[in-house]
């Protein structure tokens, strides 16, 4: 049985049908990548699972996480979210509270979800910062978000996400706002954490190259639907759906042949 099973997820906002009939499966310890361009519905899917959509959203479908029904149709956040099912967002500056110290933001999670005492939480917070590769973690606990670089802030967000030893982490474009060298550091870190703890991941991104090295399976979304899914290697070397093929063709390559085949504007527009 999968760790996370989503069946028939559908989200409507008044006139717009953002997500139509999405099915997902994530096994324990597995990394599933959800890729798509803007407007494909991948972020809305994530937020539906986390219960973070506005009340005007009409949600249909069913999602079961580790045997627990997430009750996504209610639009409310399930109690497992925040402890066993956590998330990392794209912009760490907006995900962190600018007026609280880093240490307080991490201990808040530990005290709320793991019921730790203040002292125990502080110790664990320092351990977490060390685990995410922060130099001088003891001192960093007292820092404010604006005193840290983008990469460091994202490490803090990851620390918060893994604080309660989650079974699944949902990462919504976690490195899009970061420089490419920092992106590599963060992705390496996440891989290492996953190997050590066996946690599963849903990686949402528009960057196919990021997916290639890091995800076990990939699902390609377009206009609210999943057009293709399967093991990453298979999908990337032999895509079955024309949209996947077009997407792969359009990615600028750092290796291999230099100029990609000139893609006729109208052809790709039509596929979209």
């Amino acid at each position: 049985m999968s760790l996370l099973e989503v069946r028939g997820l559908s989200v409507r906002f008044r006139a717009a049908h953002a997500v139509r009939g999405v099915d997902l499966d994530v096994g324990a310890g597995e990394c599933l990548a959800l890729v798509g361009e803007s407007g494909s519905g991948k972020s809305v899917t994530a937020r539906a699972l986390l219960g973070l959509l506005p009340p005007t959203a009409e949600i249909a479908g069913r999602a079961v996480f580790d045997g627990i029904d997430l009750q996504i149709t209610s639009g409310r956040r399930s109690p497992v979210v925040g402890s066993r099912l956590t998330t990392v967002f794209q912009d760490p500056m907006r995900a962190l509270n600018p007026v609280l110290r880093i240490g307080d933001q991490i201990t808040e999670v530990l005290r709320l979800h793991a019921g730790m005492s203040r002292a125990a939480a502080r110790v664990r917070a320092e351990e977490l910062l060390a685990a995410v590769g922060m130099a001088d973690p003891g001192r960093r606990l007292r820092a404010y978000p604006h005193e840290l670089s983008g990469g460091m802030r994202q490490r803090v967000c990851i620390a918060i996400a893994i604080a309660c030893r989650p079974a699944l982490v949902l990462a919504d474009e976690p490195t899009t706002a970061l420089d490419v060298t920092v992106q590599r550091q963060i992705l390496d870190l996440v891989d290492e954490l996953r190997r050590a703890s066996g946690m599963a991941m849903v990686l949402i991104t528009h960057d196919l190259a990021v997916v290639a090295g890091r995800a076990d399976r990939v699902a390609v979304m377009r206009a609210g639907e999943i057009v293709e899914s399967g093991p990453t290697r298979d999908v990337f070397t032999a895509p079955r759906h024309p949209y996947t093929a077009a997407l792969l063709d359009a990615v600028p390559r750092i290796d291999g042949p230099r100029a990609a085949a000139v893609v006729e504007g109208s052809a790709v527009e039509g596929v979209r």
């Binding site: 490419v180 590599r184 196919l208 990453t232 990615v251 750092i254 893609v263 790709v268």
Partner: protein
């Protein structure tokens, strides 16, 4: 010998922070773009590439150095002379939508430049021609407003506006960073097409090496306000000479999932308010020696140039 489309000579830009502190955004940067050439300027955030762009576009006077476009020193021009000279160099911005006036139609946006530069009428044909050149049918698009266009279409209009005045140089500041992959591929093709059709030189500013590889003839890599390395794109990417270029290359994810040989770059870039002594990259460099902390390396070399005391590969002499 023809005058280069762009020659940047010892450009220095710094922003005062109060007291006697400065943010040294750009320090002693020199770069040349030949007519019709596409040169990429690559670096991560804080490297100063946007400041270079603003100085080249004469939007900000540099603290030292000069910028020559088609042989004309634009940093020395003022007032009406500068405004007239602007016809020779145009810019394409990162966010296509906000670079177009939302209250105007496409035709009005395009004729604005013609009106300002007093290009003789009739204008309609010129506008229609350039719209077709960027892949937009005039009958359909000329009377639309930006909110009725997609991101990619907005960028095409922006490129049309820039190219309409037949500039010598086009400065593109991360023009595809805000666009989807498929759309960005089309826009890059369009830029190449524009260069082929109009012979305009392009200074292409980006953070994505893969994008630069697909479009540019030559590339310059910047770190913390200085140029580390320049050269033909294939050369630099196949045989990077500067350790930072190597790290940048290794960090680019590969579509085949291949893992790069080198270790990931550690730490974060230093602040440009108080840059490290000597070579600015030395605190993060795996090959750093005492000389690197003491002495600033100079950009050396002709077609391929590198600023490093211990380049990863020798620079061809002459």
């Amino acid at each position: 010998m023809t005058e280069p489309a762009l020659r940047i000579e010892h450009l220095t830009v710094r922003y005062p922070l109060g007291g006697r502190r400065f943010a040294h955004a750009v320090t002693d940067v020199s770069l040349t773009v030949a007519p019709g050439e596409i040169v990429g300027l690559v670096g991560e955030s804080g490297c100063g590439k946007s400041s270079v762009a603003r100085s080249v576009m004469a939007l900000r006077r540099p603290d030292a150095g000069r910028v020559l476009i088609g042989g004309v020193d634009v940093t020395a021009l003022r007032g009406a002379a500068l405004r007239r000279a602007r016809r020779d160099f145009q810019m394409v911005f990162q966010d296509p939508r906000s670079s177009l006036n939302p209250h105007r139609t496409v035709r009005q946006i395009l004729t604005e430049g013609l009106a300002i530069q007093r290009v003789p009428r009739p204008w309609d044909d010129q506008v229609d021609d350039v719209l077709r050149a960027v892949g937009l049918d005039p009958a359909t698009y000329a009377d639309r407003r930006p909110r009725q266009l997609s991101g990619g279409q907005c960028q095409r209009v922006a490129i049309a506006r820039a190219v309409l005045l037949r500039p010598r140089l086009l400065v593109c500041d991360e023009p595809v960073s805000a666009l989807d992959t498929t759309v960005s591929a089309q826009v890059l093709d369009l830029l190449r097409d524009v260069r082929d059709r109009y012979g305009v030189a392009i200074l292409f500013i980006a953070h994505d090496l893969a994008v630069v590889r697909g479009l540019c003839d030559r590339v310059a890599v910047m770190y913390l306000g200085r140029i580390c390395e320049t050269g033909a794109v294939d050369e630099v990417l196949a045989r990077p000479r500067h350790p930072y270029t190597r790290a940048l290359l290794d960090a680019v994810p590969r579509l085949d999932g291949a893992v790069p040989a080198g270790e990931a770059l550690r730490g974060d870039p230093a602040s440009n308010v108080d840059p490290p002594s000597g070579c600015r990259f030395h605190p993060r460099c795996a090959y750093a020696s005492p000389r690197c902390a003491a002495e600033e390396p100079v950009l050396a070399g002709e077609d391929e140039a590198v600023a490093c005391h211990h380049p990863l590969a020798p620079v061809k002499a002459g």
